[in-house]
């Protein structure tokens, strides 16, 4: 469990993000502590995915601060310095996408080994051995030499999780990772995520699956219209919400 006295792994302060004249994030304050499993829920267009993507700077922010592990993520730097800074940051933050984004011209194994080898963190042999262990862990040891085109959606997503884990990140970001899956394939991906949660991985999960959030998350954040409306333990936010906006959202979902 997270220790609230310790410095949070992620600290977000007064974060704002505009797309042109559209305000997507209107001032977010949020902490993610080490070992915490945080679920971000809320209606479409509430800014959940955008918020997630600002943490590894796939999305630049308009104003505010994001701190990760003691460093300011969105520090004002020259182009070159920023590139270096972001590459170092992103090695420590794994991300899994809604549409898998596996590299179709590489096998499952090559998808997992690419980054660690390219970045010189592991030799080819080490990376291969490690990737096989990770693929085994997500239940795909026998699919190492398959190209993504020959994998099911659930299998692709599990390879994507293994790919992110190969960098040994301090935290994982999950962006609606089961939304693009056939219903019968959701379970296998959820099980993999639960397994990670049990291993104390710090996880930030954008999801539409309230049941999964209730089962897995240690903390639930409800967002609407670019703001955090309510947050707390899953039993409280999902079963006994304080805010009317949260209640309306949860009722709609039933």
């Amino acid at each position: 469990m997270s220790d609230p006295r310790r410095e949070p792994l992620v600290r977000i302060r007064n974060l704002k993000k505009n797309f042109g004249t559209l305000e997507v994030l209107k001032g977010i304050d949020m902490d993610v502590h080490e070992g915490q499993i945080m679920a971000l829920i809320g209606p479409s267009g509430s800014g959940k995915s955008t918020l997630l993507r600002t943490i590894n700077q796939l999305e630049e922010v308009t104003s505010g601060e994001i701190w990760f592990d003691g460093t300011l993520v969105n520090a004002p730097l020259s182009h070159r310095a920023r590139e270096k800074h972001l590459n170092a940051l992103r090695r420590n933050i794994g991300m899994v996408f809604q549409h898998f984004n596996l590299f179709p011209h590489m096998t499952a194994l090559e998808n997992v080994t690419m980054a660690p080898v390219l970045l010189g963190l592991q030799t080819k042999d080490e990376a291969r051995e490690k990737a096989l262990r990770l693929l085994d862990k997500v239940g795909l040891g026998d699919r190492a030499n398959y190209y993504p085109a020959r994998l099911s959606g659930g299998q692709k997503q599990r390879v994507a999780i293994a790919r992110a884990l190969a960098m040994e990140p301090k935290m994982m970001l999950f962006d609606e990772v089961t939304s693009a899956l056939d219903p019968e394939l959701v379970g296998e991906v959820n099980r993999t995520m639960k397994q990670l949660a049990q291993e104390n991985m710090t996880m930030l999960i954008v999801t539409h699956e309230l049941k999964f959030a209730a089962d897995t998350a240690s903390h639930v954040v409800f967002m609407a219209d670019g703001l955090i409306v309510e947050e707390g333990p899953p039993q409280q936010v999902l079963r006994d919400p304080v805010q009317a906006r949260t209640r309306a959202f949860l009722q709609q979902d039933d």
Partner: protein, 218 residues
């Protein structure tokens, strides 16, 4: 008109010499034009204007002027400036640059057609922009535009005949030599044409093989 192809075999050595040099000249230029084309394409889609503009300018020049003049300029013009290239190197440079700008346009379209999620996934793992382009985006783009690039390679093989104009002893020039020795222009021009055609048949088969391999893996 009486055609007498019996003169052709007497010049076999000369023609095969020409074929060999056409192959060397073309294959070298193909490889360079593809690598340069990929680099130009990546620069053209980059956000760095200081890099983008010179490449844009280069591509206008090489698309807007005849290859024959480009060969003359690289060979004779650079010599005036004190840069003495042999005819073969000048030929390779002009051919490579000329086709690189066309390849770049094709590859650029291929890059823009790749889902941005591919680039983001690579970057999210901490690899640099250049690494993400080189390992993830460009290989997929190249595979998608392989048929169009293949056509450019066939064109390159044929256009390599122009390099005869600066004295490289490739197939066209060796046919001309054979003609000046035998005074049988028609026979040797037809023989040379047949040899170009055969070379392109082989090239087409090779391209088909590459295309099949790159699409199989997807």
């Amino acid at each position: 008109m009486n055609l007498d192809f019996s003169v052709v075999p007497r010049m076999t050595d000369l023609l095969l010499w020409g074929v060999a040099w056409t192959i060397v000249l073309s294959v070298l230029s193909m490889v360079l034009s593809l690598i340069l084309g990929a680099v130009f394409a990546v620069v053209r889609v980059s956000s760095i204007r200081l890099l983008r503009w010179p490449v844009q300018g280069l591509s206008w020049v090489f698309m807007g002027t005849p290859l024959l003049l480009q060969l003359y300029v690289v060979y004779f013009g650079l010599a005036e400036l004190g840069l003495n290239l042999n005819a073969f190197s000048a030929g390779v440079i002009a051919l490579s640059l000329h086709f690189a700008v066309y390849n770049a346009d094709i590859i650029r379209a291929g890059i823009q057609a790749i889902d941005s999620g591919q680039y983001q996934a690579a970057r999210s793992l901490g690899v640099s922009h250049v690494q993400a382009m080189r390992k993830v985006v460009v290989p997929q783009a190249m595979a998608n535009v392989a048929p169009a690039l293949g056509n450019m390679m066939i064109a390159l093989l044929k256009e390599s005949a122009l390099v005869s104009a600066i004295g490289v002893m490739e197939l066209t020039l060796s046919a001309q030599r054979a003609i000046s020795q035998t005074f049988r222009p028609f026979e040797f021009y037809l023989a040379a044409a047949a040899l170009y055609y055969l070379l392109n048949l082989v090239l087409q088969q090779a391209l088909r093989l590459i295309e099949r391999r790159t699409t199989l893996t997807r």
